[in-house]
């Protein structure tokens, strides 16, 4: 990255600022590069650091959220909400019927497994079919070959992912959350 690229990048990261604020900041750093001298260009870039982080400091000073952070913050908030939802859901489910949940898991697994196996078969069939098509039209055959390979590849991926999470016949430990509530209930009863 050279000086022009650095300043350009900085300008892009500051695009939410008012024109006055942005040009003031840019002028400062243009001056800074000029006064440091052309020989020190790379040194200055290294010292100033990532233009986005530099921009974030200026944005924060202007009471704006960091440019890079906005998406990340949103994602983090969404992930947190999802996690809380999952936890609440699993607690409720466990306290209700752990066996029913296990059975549902196995049923879902079986359905997915059969579906993927079926897809794999279809994919392989299309590949074989495409091989017989080569004599009539190579373009069409190539298309079907690609399609077949794509489908069987996807099915294989799904199968391997499924086999990774094979439901084991072992008895699941009741999570401490469920047990705690039970204890609380008995304590209350006394």
């Amino acid at each position: 990255m050279n000086r022009e690229q650095y300043l350009k990048r900085l300008e892009t990261c500051l695009d939410t600022l008012s024109t006055e604020e942005r040009s003031s900041a840019l002028l400062y750093y243009v001056d800074y590069f000029e006064d440091a001298g052309a020989d020190a260009e790379q040194e200055v870039i290294a010292q100033l650091g990532d233009p986005r982080q530099l921009a974030d400091r200026i944005l924060e000073e202007n009471g704006q959220s960091p440019s890079a952070g906005r998406w990340r913050q949103w994602l983090a908030a969404a992930a947190q909400k999802w996690g809380a939802y999952r936890r609440r859901r699993s607690e409720r489910r466990v306290s209700k019927s752990p066996h029913k949940r296990e059975r549902l898991r196995i049923a879902g697994f079986c359905i997915l497994f059969v579906l993927s196996a079926w897809l794999l078969l279809c994919g392989v069939a299309v590949v074989i079919l495409s091989l017989t098509l080569f004599s009539t039209g190579p373009m069409g055959a190539l298309f079907y070959l690609g399609l077949g390979l794509f489908v069987s590849g996807g099915a294989l991926l799904a199968l391997s992912a499924l086999s990774g999470r094979l439901p084991r016949p072992r008895k699941r430990n009741t999570p401490p959350a469920g047990r705690q509530t039970a204890e609380e209930v008995t304590a209350h009863g006394r």
């Binding site: 900041a25 001056d31 006064d35 200055v44 100033l48 000073e61």
Partner: protein, 107 residues
Amino acid sequence: MIFQTGAALLECCVLAVLDREDTYGYVLTQRVKGVLQISESTLYPVLRRLQKEASLSTYDRAFQGRNRRYYSITPQGREKLQQYRTEWEAYKNRIDDILLRGLCGDE
């Protein structure tokens, strides 16, 4: 340096440098860097903040075919610097008391 440099300390160093003479961003950064371990990217927001609260003013002066922006301390900035000096004296004495003279609180 193991002691962290907060925003206030940075502000008063900038004001103190500018109290001696007007100067531009690069030299200002080098002067402050000579005293405090700061990254080159920390100074602009401080300057801008001081400028907005009218502790600093700026003017452009032609230099080698371009305009260079100079920073200058205002009377308001001098007042602020004086407050910082008083505050620093008191703070320094309290820390010296406990750190160098072994005194504590009301002694």
